[in-house]
Every structure is written in C-alpha cells, then in structure tokens.
C-alpha cells in the first residue's frame, strides 16, 4: 500500500482496485464554443476534445479564457454559441445540478457549517441516495484521500492540504463523469503543492477511467500531471498536444515561452534534408542541424527553439554548435544558470552544479543534439 505523508501529517492511502474501477469517465467535447461577458468575447470559437480517462490541462495567462472554458462545462457560464458534450450527451442547456460532474475550486469551498463527512456526503444526500450507500461511499472516498481520521472535524480545523483532499473526496463521492479542477493547488504553499501534485497523479492512476479537466496557470503542474495540454491565449486555442511533445517541440512562440523557459534564436533555413525531418539553418556564421516540423523553404526566416537544459557547454568546436560569450553564471543550489550572448541574442543554459562555472566574459562553445531543438514560426512575443 502506497502512503505519502504531507507536512500536515495527513496520509493518503491507495484504494482497492474495485473502488478504482467504479468511476467511469466520459469524453468532453467543446464544439465552436464562444462565451462573452457584456460584449467582451472571453472564449472565441473554442473547440477541443478531451478523451475518456485522460487528464487534460488547460493553461494560459490570466484572462486567456481557461477558467471560462471549465465553467462552461460546469454550467456556470452559458455559451453564446457552440455546443458542449460529455460523452454522447449535449449538456449545453442542462442546468449545473443535472450534469453529474465533480468540481474542485481554488479555495476548496468546503461548507464551513458541515463536518468533513457531511461535506463528502453532500452530493449524495442532494441526490437522495440511500443512507447506507452514503455511509459506504463517504468512508471509501475519505480513505481514498487519506482523511478517514478527520471525518468528524470541521473544515476550519483542517490545514489547506487537508481541505484540498476533502474537496477532492467530496467531488469523487458522486462518481462524477468528469472531474473539473480549477487551479486546485494555487492556494497551497510550494512544498504542499508538490506533494499534492504527486498525490493527484497517483489518484488518477488509481482511478484510470476518470476524465479530468485541469485548469492551471502553473506549467509545471500541467507537465507533471496532464496527458495532453491545451494552451489558451486571448480566448483561443493557441497550441494543443501531448505534454511531452508540446514541451519538446512547441508549435508556436507563445507555447514555447509559456511552457517553461525557451531560448529562441532567429535563424534562416539553408537546406532541408531529403527525409524532411532535419533542416540546416544558419545562425550568423554557424550552420546548425535541427529538427523541423514546419513546411519551410530555404531562405525562410524562423526561430530556433532550444530549452536551457538541452544546451551543453563544450571546450572545443563540435558538429552542431556555436560560439557564445558568457554574461552571467548563477549558482542556484541544484543547478547553475548561465546566461550567454550569441549574435546579439541572450540565451540561457542550465548545467549541473558540479560542473566548473565558466568565467564571465569568456568565449565558450555551445552545442545541442538536433532532435532536442525545433524550428517554430516567428510571431510577436506574448506579454
């Protein structure tokens, strides 16, 4: 049995396989959904499909429309146009209480006048479930999140992490078709948040059929938890794909910059390989080989995107590198962050803390593996 204790001392316990199998997930489909508030369009012809049983993270800056999209699924926002389906059912015009969804919000919203067990039982009582079933289900769900021993407490007597667990148990108690998580960890401090991300991941491994729509502004939470990530910008879908590939090969400058740190160097395509996988590009006097998934012609300008950890310092020229000048080198405990300048552009590189720190102002060779960098179309920076 797997147990993870957080700083509050509460432990979570893995459920039995039987419990896990009982929650069945459904797909979520946004079909050209537009939402506007008083004439301001906050979600613009948004289409997206969430597969049954997957965790899909909706991320984006403030005002990008991610929370609006989630609230539209929950039924608290009425789309001006478009349809939303859960499984085969069109839920666009169904009231929130009839949608059969579980929702966890940023501030947990545990009912302060009810004990933990009453909070978890709320949804079942609201649906007139059999008292024996309520008692069994409450026990199961509290056990699932490791809060069985806190059943008789009031929310005010719990820490933030414990309240979050209860909120998840409450949402799961009704056996929701999908679970909506609206920035569920943002009110927690960093240490508890890390633990909770791990616990959410494990919870989903225990409930593999549960479809989760996870709204967050924290890209690391999204990368850790989500099978796929959708990045929103100004109410529109900017990028969408499996988490790992979206991180390694972002499809836009915005996605590259939003999903972790990215070095973006302006380059010119000089030659495309016959198989179309790699391209040779020019960065000043240097010729570099890089993965290319765009339709580009020789002479075309674009951006070379390399994550800081994909760059390596080298003593001598290598086959796929360039010469740069060290501007700063900062030791940050578990890593060193080196800022370099090449062809007038600053770029970041992270190296192991055990590696010798390069001298400020010195010239170094930097190289990277072609498949660890990608080309993306140039567009205005966000922000």
């Amino acid at each position: 049995m797997l147990t993870i204790a957080d700083r509050d001392g509460a432990a979570s316990v893995a459920p039995s396989a039987t419990q896990a199998a009982e929650v069945a997930g459904s797909s979520i489909d946004f079909e050209d959904v537009t939402v506007s508030y008083g004439g301001t369009v906050v979600l613009d012809r948004f289409s997206l499909s969430v597969a049954p049983g997957e965790i899909l993270a909706l991320i984006g800056p403030s005002g990008s429309g991610k929370t609006t999209a989630l609230r539209a699924v929950a039924g608290f926002v009425r789309p001006a146009s478009g349809r939303i389906r859960i499984g085969e059912q069109d839920i666009t015009d169904i009231p929130p209480y009839a949608r059969g969804l579980g929702m966890v919000v940023q501030n947990y919203a545990l009912f302060p006048h009810m004990r933990v067990d009453q909070n978890v039982a709320f949804g079942l009582r609201a649906q007139n479930a059999d008292p024996a079933l309520i008692a069994t289900r409450v026990g199961e769900c509290l056990e699932l999140v490791g809060m069985s021993s806190f059943a008789r407490r009031y929310p005010a007597q719990l820490s933030g992490g414990q309240q979050q667990r209860v909120a998840i148990a409450r949402a799961l108690a009704i056996r929701p078709r999908v679970l909506l998580l609206d920035e569920p960890l943002s009110a927690l401090d960093a240490q508890i948040r890390r633990n909770m991300v791990e616990e959410l991941g494990r919870l989903h491994r225990d409930l593999p059929n549960l479809t989760v729509l996870y709204v967050t502004h924290d890209q690391s939470e999204a990368l850790t938890l989500a099978d796929r990530i959708a990045i929103l910008r100004d109410g529109r879908l900017n990028a969408f794909g499996p988490s790992r590939s979206l991180y390694q090969a972002p499809t836009s400058r915005f996605a590259a910059e939003f999903l972790g740190r990215a070095n973006l160097l302006p380059v010119t395509v000089s030659q495309l390989d016959a198989d179309g996988v790699l391209a040779r590009v020019r960065l000043g006097e240097h010729s570099l080989s890089v993965r290319c998934e765009l339709q580009l012609a020789p002479g075309h300008g674009c951006l070379l995107c390399i994550r800081p950890h994909a760059l390596r310092l080298a003593d001598l020229p290598t086959g796929n590198g360039f010469r740069a000048t060290v501007e700063t080198a900062l030791w940050q405990g578990d890593t060193q962050n080196v800022t370099l300048r090449v062809e007038g552009v600053a770029l970041n590189l992270t190296v192991s803390p055990s590696q010798a720190m390069p001298e400020r102002g010195s010239a170094v060779w930097v190289d990277f593996a072609p498949h660890e960098a990608t080309l993306i179309a140039d567009e205005p920076a966000h922000g």
Binding site: Y97, V105, L180
Partner: protein
C-alpha cells in the same frame, strides 16, 4: 494606526469613553434612577421605591409589554422573511434595476415614521382594503419601517458570500431549493440573525407610526410610555422604559448567542 504613542492612545480612549458614557449612558442612568424614585426635586432622586415596577407589571402596562413583544416578533419575522427573499431575488438581476429596487426598499427608512403611519392610515381606511382600527395595520406599519434594515443586512451577507459554495453545491447535484436550504441560508445565518435582532429592536422602540395607527385594543409599550409621560407620570413611564429595555436586551442577547454559534464555524 493613527496614533502611535501609547499615552496618546490612552488619552483618546479616555476622552472617547467619557463622551460615549455621557451621550449613551446618562439617559439610561437617569431613566433607571427615575424608575425607582419616590420623589425627584433636587439634583438627585430620593425616597427610593419599587412601586413603579409594581404598577408596570400589573394591568395595562403588562398587556402593553406583551403587545410590543408580539408586534416586534411578528413584524421582524416577516421583515426578515421578505428581506431574505428580496435580497436573494435581487442579487441575480442587472446592477441598474437592482439599485432601483434598493432605493425602493430603503425609502421607508428615509421617511419620518409619523408620515409612514399617516400614509398607511390614508391608504387603508377605505375599501377594498380596510385595515384602519385593526391590529394588522400596526404590524404593517412596523413591517414597513423595519424591512429596509432586514433587506440591507441580508444583502450585505449575500454580497460577502463567495459564489464558489453555491456553485460547488450545484455541481454536486443540489437543486436550487436544496442548495438554498442547506448551503446559502446556513452560510448567511449570522446576517439573518443580525437582521432579526435589529428589526426586533427597532420595532420594540417604534412610536411615531404606531401613534398614528394603533387601535384601542393594541397599545404597544412605547405608546403607553408616551401616554404616561404626557400625563406627568414620569416615574411610571421610566419603570416601563426599563422593562422595555430589559425585555429587548434579553431577546437580543439570545439572538446574539445564536448568531455567535453560527459564526464560530
């Protein structure tokens, strides 16, 4: 903190306390002393007696106290019910109509109570709604005067209620009535109890409108106190006032305890 020095803060507290004691305390002390005074010809009363309380607890005065309690209870319960309903209904509408309705609700509190009484008297002295001379018109007058405060208190409570609670309840399958009964109302209970306390206290002390509309069989304590004062029976009026204060205070204390219990969680 506006004043940093401890000595200066103490001095401000002392001056503030003295002013408050004079403004709020002096009238009550004078009434309390008058209620046990046999005579009051000099600076201080003399010949202390409980005779006035004896008079107050028998005959008309006791009936007037009961009438006041009943009027206050009925009017404040209805004021809270309608205030809660109005506040719940109006919070979902657009800001401009809501402000207009707010004005409508608060209007009676800006009008002299005598005018409210006169208005009711004129409005309901002829068929088809003939209430003149009935108990109902007294309760109606109190209701009109106190409902604004109930509405204001409960609206404030609803404005402070985070929408998350109700939305999560809905997402868990709670229909509107269940959500209202199990989530919304319990969460604003302190404000409801506050509204009830304020309404009751205002009703217990109401005189202007009651004077205009009360029938002979439904005389409230403030009307009785006014009548005694008018006849020169100041000490009996003072004893009745002390009973009114004590009765109101006891009920408010009970309501405060309920409110505290609801707030603690």
């Amino acid at each position: 903190m506006l004043v940093w020095s401890r000595a200066a803060r103490r001095m401000i507290w002392a001056v503030g306390g003295l002013v408050a004691a004079i403004i709020y305390g002096a009238p009550i002390i004078v009434i309390a002393l008058a209620s046990i005074a046999g005579h009051w010809n000099g600076a201080w009363p003399n010949d202390f007696t409980l005779r006035h309380y004896g008079n107050a607890l028998t005959g008309d005065s006791a009936r007037q106290l009961r009438t006041s309690l009943e009027t206050g209870a009925i009017a404040s319960v209805f004021a809270v019910l309608s205030g809660t309903w109005a506040a719940l209904a109006l919070r979902k509408i657009a800001p401009l109509p809501r402000r207009l309705f707010d004005l409508f609700f608060f209007m009676p509190s800006a009008v002299p109570s005598v005018s409210v009484g006169l208005g009711l008297l004129v409005a309901f002295s002829q068929p088809p709604v003939l209430l003149n001379g009935t108990t109902l018109i007294v309760i109606l007058a109190h209701f009109v005067l106190i409902s604004a405060f109930s509405y204001g208190n409960i609206s404030a409570g609803l404005a402070r209620l985070r929408p998350d609670y109700e939305q999560v309840a809905e997402s868990l399958g709670a229909r509107p009535a269940y959500k209202l009964w199990r989530v919304t109302l319990p969460l604003i209970l302190p404000y409801i109890v506050g509204a009830l306390s304020l309404s009751f206290a205002l009703s217990m002390g109401e005189l202007g409108a009651t004077e205009m509309v009360y029938p002979p069989g439904w005389v409230t304590l403030p009307v009785g106190i006014f009548a005694l004062s008018d006849r020169g029976a100041i000490f009996d009026a003072a004893a009745l006032t002390m009973l009114l204060v004590a009765g109101t205070f006891a009920i408010l204390l009970a309501l405060v305890r309920i409110s505290n219990r609801a707030t603690v969680r």
